[in-house]
Symmetry: C2
């Protein structure tokens, strides 16, 4: 199979770029003395996670029970489900535990902790559970000084669950774009999560693990004292949002969408391609960043950026490629003829990847081959 | 299976609403004397299309060759592939034709028309082809007065392809929100497409079909003189974008996402649910409309809107439910307890539906059952 034989649109992984991305974060985490637990929600691909594991990662993080089931079936048995569980999902989680999956659950409420404990007592199973800490106000979690933290810990511990520790995710790091702000948020994420662990321990509760992480903070932290593990997902591919955040270059982005030119509007300087929002996703994460890439940055078939060209508009199966600055590009019919192949770098690798049921791995040498990925819940 | 037994997030179809939506457009098209060729890119579901067919639709419209293949395998044999074809896709299209699928292709360029003709001559097959007309400047197509229109027609006709007619899609109708503007655009779409057909006929070329359509213009046209068929997709489910356009009410939206409450941030008035952007899609189509619904409008488990509550923020598997006007809702922990079920109406049914591999059909009476849908290319 050659590049030109791949039916478009298709999701490509640049193997050399991915390998460099994996090595970069793994080396950093090893140097800082913590374990790396990659978040596989980005790739949802067994082969990608195996590369991360081979580089030194310990365990995986998942965002759905389907991910847990799929990766467990492929031999991954140390799995952290990093979304607060609702009581109706406990049966499905228990099925994994019964098959000897070392599955860790997450909660940030007394009510859910009580449900976990009740289920565990009824089923004679001690669930492994972490408590989610809110370190930046962007989403879930209890604040480290909140009385509920110790209350949740006591409910879990007294009820026979194994209190594994505390977890936080400084997701607001995606909104930053200076090294200093990123370093400050990384330190805040570390400090508040460590503090939460100290409070649990001071209350006589166990707290072996302190788990933090987001790709921008993981790559910005100066030290990780008190932390045992870091979680990060999008670093494996990177994307244009991460480039705008300032922690990678567009040339590091390992995921792209291969597309074919299907038309032109020469008077407007538009090239029409067969990668619309169905292929790129509707993610417009660069819209409010310093460089707005529309629905993606345009590269030639070999993955070299074509300066200034972006997917400026998208319908379901149509992408409009034009100059980012609005100028009407000349000679586009000759430069990008009908049938020509382009690659589009995504705003957000997690969102674009999930539009596809497989990746085409592009090795530095040799022919592409297919890596399955999965979708849904 | 009861509603409470459905694993969340899940895509639900309200059967009664869908039936009413199908009947509404079908009756209108019949009254206006044209055939309705539904666009199945919205549902990608055989069972949904069968309902449309049973109501009187003639043939289907698709946006990918995979849709053509899947629907042909299910017995639909009159299929219009309404995206301009690139030469590399002709082999796959030919395979369908060889199996007696009545597949119509689309082009808006001399180059692609030449490729279609060359392939047809080489394979001794006369492709059915329509020419795409640009009636509102929003994407693809040749303008009706453009010399290329007749040139493309001549290339196809002289080369042995069957010139089936002209097609346009006034997609800019999604940007409108008054009945008068919609009526004007519907008339513009009709007039320009009919004019393109007249120019082909005046040049001695065949043009049996005049195909127009978008959901907003189809529901706004006063007469359709000269038109033979109308295409529309999203009307089958409707969505919040269409509600803002003014052609349906939120109470007509037949697609919703069932979700479970997984947490709260009471100080902020936030309810955290397990429908994030993976479930809702990243589509923010209501962002620039009169009512911004965030990532979706919140309903109770029975589908009744809870006034003022929207999914105001979303991460991959987390949705943040809060008041649209920014007020901090009181008593949310008691009102929306952990484990409670909610339904979220989508901004854009095509984008939300495609995040799922099946729908749960919710009949007015009886228990839900599963309708498969497909994804990808």
């Amino acid at each position: 199979m050659q590049l030109t034989e791949i039916a478009t649109p298709a999701a490509l992984i640049d193997e050399a770029r991915m390998a460099a991305n994996i090595a970069r974060l793994q080396e950093r985490m090893t140097a800082l003395g913590v374990r790396l637990r990659p978040h596989v929600k980005t790739s949802k691909c067994i082969e990608v996670a195996r590369r991360q594991q081979a580089a030194g990662a310990v365990g995986i993080t998942v965002s759905t029970l389907k991910e847990a089931e799929q990766f467990f079936a492929a031999g991954f048995d140390d799995i952290l489900y990093a979304v607060c569980i609702s009581p109706d999902k406990l049966d499905r989680a228990l099925m994994l535990c019964r098959r000897n999956c070392r599955l860790t659950l997450l909660t940030d409420s007394v009510a859910a902790a009580q449900a976990i404990v009740a289920k565990g007592l009824a089923e004679k199973h001690a669930f492994d559970v972490m408590i989610e800490i809110d370190s930046d106000g962007h989403r879930s979690g209890v604040e480290p000084e909140d009385d509920r933290l110790v209350e949740i810990g006591r409910v879990l511990h007294a009820g026979g669950a194994r209190l594994k520790g505390v977890l936080t995710h400084a997701g607001s790091s995606y909104d930053l774009d200076t090294p200093e702000a990123l370093r400050q948020l990384a330190e805040q994420e570390r400090r508040l999560c460590v503090r939460a662990g100290e409070r649990l321990r001071a209350a006589g509760l166990p707290c072996p693990d302190i788990s933090i992480g987001s790709t921008p903070t993981a790559l910005s932290a100066v030290h990780l004292e008190g932390v045992t593990e870091v979680r990060a997902g999008v670093y494996v591919f990177f994307d244009l949002v991460m480039s705008n955040v300032g922690i990678c270059r567009p040339e590091d982005v390992a995921l792209s969408v291969l597309t074919t030119v299907i038309g032109h509007q020469p008077d407007k300087g538009w090239v029409i391609v067969d990668a619309g929002w169905m292929a790129m996703s509707r993610d417009r994460g660069t819209q409010r960043q310093q460089i707005d890439y529309g629905y993606g940055a345009v590269c030639d078939a070999q993955g070299r950026m074509i300066d200034g060209f972006v997917v400026s508009g998208a319908n379901q199966e149509h992408g409009i490629v034009s100059h980012r600055d609005g100028t009407v590009a000349q000679g586009i019919v000759e430069r990008f003829p009908i049938g020509a192949k382009l690659r589009i770098l995504p705003n957000h690798a997690c969102a674009t990847g999930t539009q596809f049921d497989s990746y085409h791995l592009m090795p530095a040498k040799g022919t592409p081959h297919i890596w399955p990925r999965f979708q849904g819940w």
